[in-house]
């Protein structure tokens, strides 16, 4: 059995959660190079199916949330992951600052993951 898990390049919503509520501050886009990488990965798996090496048995997509206790932690994460994302724009950064004004909170970003189970043939 082969289990493949990889992000799907959808827009990833970013929200700020405080005691006052939840504010959507924008969405992150994946970089063009990462989108190409995911497309190539999906094509490689599809090729394994066409060549009857594996058969796809079950597939699902699910949303994973990543929580950051501060804007600084989130920005550090974005710098670490810079190759995967289009940098957040000033509008999003300003929205985050405004949402966190006067109230502690967390930044939450979502990622869509595709999970597929394959069974080896032969």
């Amino acid at each position: 059995m082969l289990l493949d898990l990889h992000p799907e390049p959808r827009l990833n919503p970013v929200t700020v959660r405080t005691s006052a509520g939840t504010t959507r501050v924008g969405a992150l886009e994946y970089s063009a190079s990462f989108i190409e990488t995911v497309a190539a990965a999906n094509e490689a798996l599809a090729m394994l199916e066409r060549e009857e090496v594996f058969v796809r048995e079950q597939q699902t997509e699910f949303e994973v949330l990543i929580h950051f206790d501060s804007a600084a932690l989130w920005q550090a994460h974005m710098e670490t992951e810079a190759q995967y994302y289009v940098p957040p724009d000033e509008a999003m950064l300003s929205s985050i600052d405004r949402a966190l004004e006067g109230a502690p909170g967390e930044i939450v970003m979502a990622e869509w993951i595709r999970g597929t189970r394959f069974r080896r043939l032969g």
């Binding site: 289990l3 898990l5 990889h6 699902t60 699910f62 950051f68 970003m109």
Partner: protein, 98 residues
């Protein structure tokens, strides 16, 4: 990674809905620091997890719970350098690695 990933447990539930790890010998490709490994290792009979990032592998080794040290092996390697015995594993996990 400097955030808390999936404290809601959505990913853990999803991978256990997709695959039965109970008593299985598992090989994980692209394990990084073991983040995903911990989602299934306690169910598996054994896990060989590898990644070319030596720093991530060092972190994974340091963070291996004592109860899993006899069952989980982390190795710094990539697909070209790892030597995997054919048929030795019941489950292969491609962990965000393609």
């Amino acid at each position: 990674m400097q955030g808390s990933i999936d404290p809601e447990g959505v990913e853990t539930k999803a991978i256990h809905d997709l695959a039965d790890f109970a008593g299985k010998d598992v090989v994980e490709v692209g394990c990084g620091d073991g983040r995903l490994t911990w989602r299934f290792a306690d169910a598996a009979a054994s896990v060989l997890a590898f990644d070319p990032d030596e720093a991530a592998i060092a972190t994974a080794r340091e963070q291996t719970p004592p109860a899993l040290r006899g069952r989980v092996t982390f190795r710094a390697a990539d697909m070209a350098s790892i030597d995997l015995a054919a048929g030795a594993y019941d489950v292969g996990v491609l962990s965000w690695s393609i």
